[in-house]
Symmetry: C2
Subunit: 299 residues, 2 copies
């Protein structure tokens, strides 16, 4: 079976249609790769591209995209609402099928090295690929952004993983990583009181003492006049979706509030859903790899 890897590179261009189309064309140019989605954001001035492919093709397409971005995006002229440090800001690799996290870490290192060797863009490895604990968190790695990087790179603990202590003049520096698939999971409440959603978000998210693998905020869905707990589930194997869902249910009950429904935004691996079914149906000894027919289909 082919090893399947997802790659979700983020580029610092969300306005210039010609450059966005160039990224799309480049994404489609590598055989063995499927372009699942691309979302340009004008106010962020950033485009997120979602790709899947086999182990080799995904490395090639990531490299070609970084090359295209280096040649068409000038960070000295970039402005936008989202923090960024390079023309290609980040390149995360995600294991999807028949491939381990360790193998994705290897892929991230190979691609990072090639980007520096051939394109002269220095590389920070982050998340699972990080070379030290203080480099795991992307927000910390990116702090200072493109403009602050020349100074930051001089600091003892911020030498790039590949490259010298100086940025590429127009393409900056790029973060490359391996990480678990991220599931965007929102839970809607039958209340127009956003404070309740905010209090519940605080209970479930890791940063304020909740579940380590959950990020979350409370917000209002203005069009429906309801409050929502909006979450990123960063490791659905260590924190299955049902666990935050049931926690939100019993926390909401304290305010006499019920769950109306939930939303899954974008893509997720089948296992994130089958794990939920396994829990609620109380299935004894379910084996995802063996029992789900699709897992036996040779790619």
């Amino acid at each position: 079976m082919a090893k399947i890897v997802e790659c979700i590179p983020n580029f610092s261009e969300g306005r210039n249609q010609e450059v966005i189309q160039g990224l799309v064309d480049t994404a489609k140019s590598v055989p063995g790769v499927t372009l699942l989605d691309y979302s340009p954001d004008e106010s962020h001035n950033r485009t997120v591209v979602t790709l899947v492919g086999d182990e080799e093709s995904i490395q090639e397409v990531a490299f070609q995209l970084v090359k295209y971005a280096r040649d068409h995006i000038d960070m000295t002229k970039h402005e936008g609402g989202h923090p960024r440090m390079g023309a290609t800001d980040v390149v995360p690799f995600v294991p999807i099928k028949d491939i381990s996290m360790e193998e994705c870490v290897e892929i991230s290192k190979k691609v990072g090295k090639r980007i520096y060797d051939e394109l002269d863009i220095p590389i920070f490895l982050y998340e699972e690929s990080a070379s030290a604990p203080h480099r795991k968190n992307l927000a910390k790695v990116r702090k200072g952004q493109f403009e602050g990087m020349p100074e930051k790179l001089k600091e003892e603990e911020w030498a790039p993983d590949f490259g010298e202590r100086k940025i590429h003049p127009t393409a900056g520096i790029t973060g490359v990583s391996a990480r678990m698939p991220l599931v965007a999971f929102n839970v809607n409440l039958d209340t127009d009181n956003v404070d309740i959603a905010k209090k519940i978000a605080k209970v479930v998210r890791g940063s304020s003492g909740g579940f380590k693998y959950c990020k979350g905020i409370g917000l209002m869905l203005e069009d429906r006049n309801i409050a929502q707990v909006s979450m990123n589930m960063v490791n659905f194997e260590k924190l299955p979706l049902y666990r935050t869902f049931e926690t939100i249910r019993f926390e909401a009950a304290r305010y006499g509030v019920n769950i109306i429904g939930s939303e899954i935004i974008g893509l997720l691996p089948a296992k994130a859903m089958t794990d939920v079914a396994e829990y609620y149906l109380q299935v004894e000894d379910f084996d995802f790899n063996k029992q789900v027919i699709e897992n036996h289909i040779i790619n």
Copy 2:
């Protein structure tokens, strides 16, 4: 994307290791086909083979297996606990991915015709492929079994769909069909009273007034000393697993009995599980084809 079809032929041999191995070798001989499982049963004297493959390969492997069975299984000498009408008793085709039930019906007809044309074995089409309502139900089609078929075929309404009104002398007659994937789903109760499981089975199964797409019996798991509702879910799209599960839960409550756990035996499509997760998480507008990453991987 390749169209993926499952085929689960049943052969009237579960004891002779040489013949069983011959079936396995034949199953493995067709490129594009994966042998998922084979289960010989000595007391039934029957072997169930589970295969997946693309649209063309699955037809070829089914034909080759029927040919092998015709040449190596003599029904005039067969005895076993399971009803059967031919050396190859049944050949069901099941749509798995990017293929409709209608297309699987067409496949079943093409394979059925070829079996008669080239192997001289008459064919009954049943289930979704049936040519008349009284031929849908396999139990009715197979009634009379191998020994009674010569008489049955003379009856007005039991002409084969392909072939004349006489069986193959040693291979009998074969049923070919298209049907939905069948999910074997058992629910365990915290009671040693099998009558409770039997009463609940009667509530959920279609034949006694319950859910049309559920077959079920109550039985004892002797080794664990608990009662079980053992079910075949014959259309998980029209009757999702959670619906019988929740019905069993509230019916068991009448006896003060709880669900301990459940079992899924063998294979099932990912969608049968994601439908369950979607229900319990109350997901609004989930799109299985679009949102499950694996569905975008090109085969």
